[in-house]
Symmetry: C2
DNA sequence: ATATAGGGTGTATTTATTACACTAAGCGAA
DNA sequence: TTCGCTTAGTGTAATAAATACACCCTATAT
């Protein structure tokens, strides 16, 4: 084995930018580190990839170990490979971004002791993060800003049943700008990928809004792969 | 050094999909391998990243060693990390895509003996490639198909001075469909990012077309970062 | 001079995008 | 029960962008 392979080996890791939407605000998941380097600092959840696991699998495993989250939407973002990005040696990291429905009490249970805790933090005022994690976060935000305009990723942040206003709030939070309510609804409903339910919001102290769900089947049929959401 | 780093190390490599445009056809650069595995096969130019070099730098170095090409447009594409993608061991590869102006006699001079030769091959009928390189190529093509609609990458494939028809041919080759001549020209000129030169094509046996060049300065001014080319 | 091959041009139609403001419904408090 | 509050829900006109479409022009070669 490894006949022609070189002698210099390196280490690689995975880091995850996990987006959640709560209180009308876009948040990401941070951990408080419990190890050098950057012990006590906040950082993205991330760890080393094992020799015998694929990187996509590693991303899922690491996210689970550091936060208790699993089975969520996740895509590879970019690979960061500067020689000096890790203070203790050459570590190349493959960054992933992920999205999750935050339904009230999403408890975060790290099962690994390499972090003290995991918590959600609004993206608006992120603190300084360890490593090059601020750069990784910024790249992931750019990515979803673009992606939300041609792939139905906004739904990953919402509960199964949602109102049009909630959906609009997700778009506004990601694009970081206000959208016109009438135009937004007209456009969104025109795509024909939402199913209106015979059900209304409950427990609100004002007029209850109609609930919708994303119709994956219609989406797949109408647009082989993508559509052009929210051009600007 | 390497205090808290794990003991299992891995190997990573870089593979490049280099696009060129010649005879109205989109081509990529292949090498004929001179080493196991896949000795004698055709593959993308790629090799191992050194322990002390950044991956972007490694991509440039490897491309130069395997083809003699340098200083060309190059962007990271995606990282392929399946456990078994390399038959001789765990090798994670970071793929890059690149674009180059093919001006008549672009001679390819590998300076490394890990390849027998390098050559251009039309993307229309690519042969079977070693490793997972076919998958890497397909992903890169998807990427540039999307990217050409919002970033001025088509110009990277053309000489400094080009005609509108040549530009249209690049779009058609990448998008793999015919475009309307009048609409294409109207749209392209409207962006205001082309400078018409006081010069015409020479050496053609028919009416000479006007030459244009891409005006990077105007582009940067008008659109902070991008525009919306060729929506469909 | 004429044949050839690609260069270059305009308009009408359709579709998408934008801007914009009021009434409706449900709940809670008085 | 009424009133006030808060969010839901709705339409149209104007503008801009995308599309479909066919002929004459011009340089060269023969």
């Amino acid at each position: 084995m490894q006949t022609g392979l070189p002698k210099f080996h390196s280490i690689f890791s995975v880091d995850c930018v996990v987006f959640g939407f709560e209180d009308g605000v876009l948040k990401i998941l941070l951990v408080e580190r419990n190890e050098e380097p950057f012990n006590g600092w906040w950082a993205l959840p991330g760890f080393f990839v094992q020799h015998d696991e694929g990187i996509d699998y590693a991303a899922e495993r690491i996210l689970y170990e550091l936060t208790g989250l699993r089975d969520i939407y996740m895509e590879q973002l970019y690979t960061f490979g500067d020689v000096n990005r890790h203070p203790e040696g050459r570590v190349i990291t493959v960054a992933y971004y992920a999205m999750i429905r935050l339904s009230g009490k999403n408890e975060l249970h790290p099962t690994s002791n390499i972090v003290k805790k995991a918590f959600w933090h609004p993206i608006a005022d992120l603190p300084k993060l360890g490593f090059d994690h601020t750069e990784i976060f910024e790249k992931s935000l750019d990515k979803i800003k673009r992606k939300i305009s041609y792939q139905p990723i906004a739904f990953e942040l919402l509960p199964e049943k949602f109102t049009l206003t909630q959906l609009q709030n997700v778009y506004e939070a990601i694009l970081n700008k206000k959208l016109d309510k009438r135009n937004f609804r007209k456009k969104m409903l025109n795509y024909g990928i939402l199913k209106e339910l015979d059900e209304k919001q409950r427990g609100v102290s004002f007029r209850a809004a109609a609930l919708y769900k994303f119709d994956r089947r219609k989406y797949a049929k109408l647009f082989q792969k993508e559509l052009s959401f929210m051009k600007d």
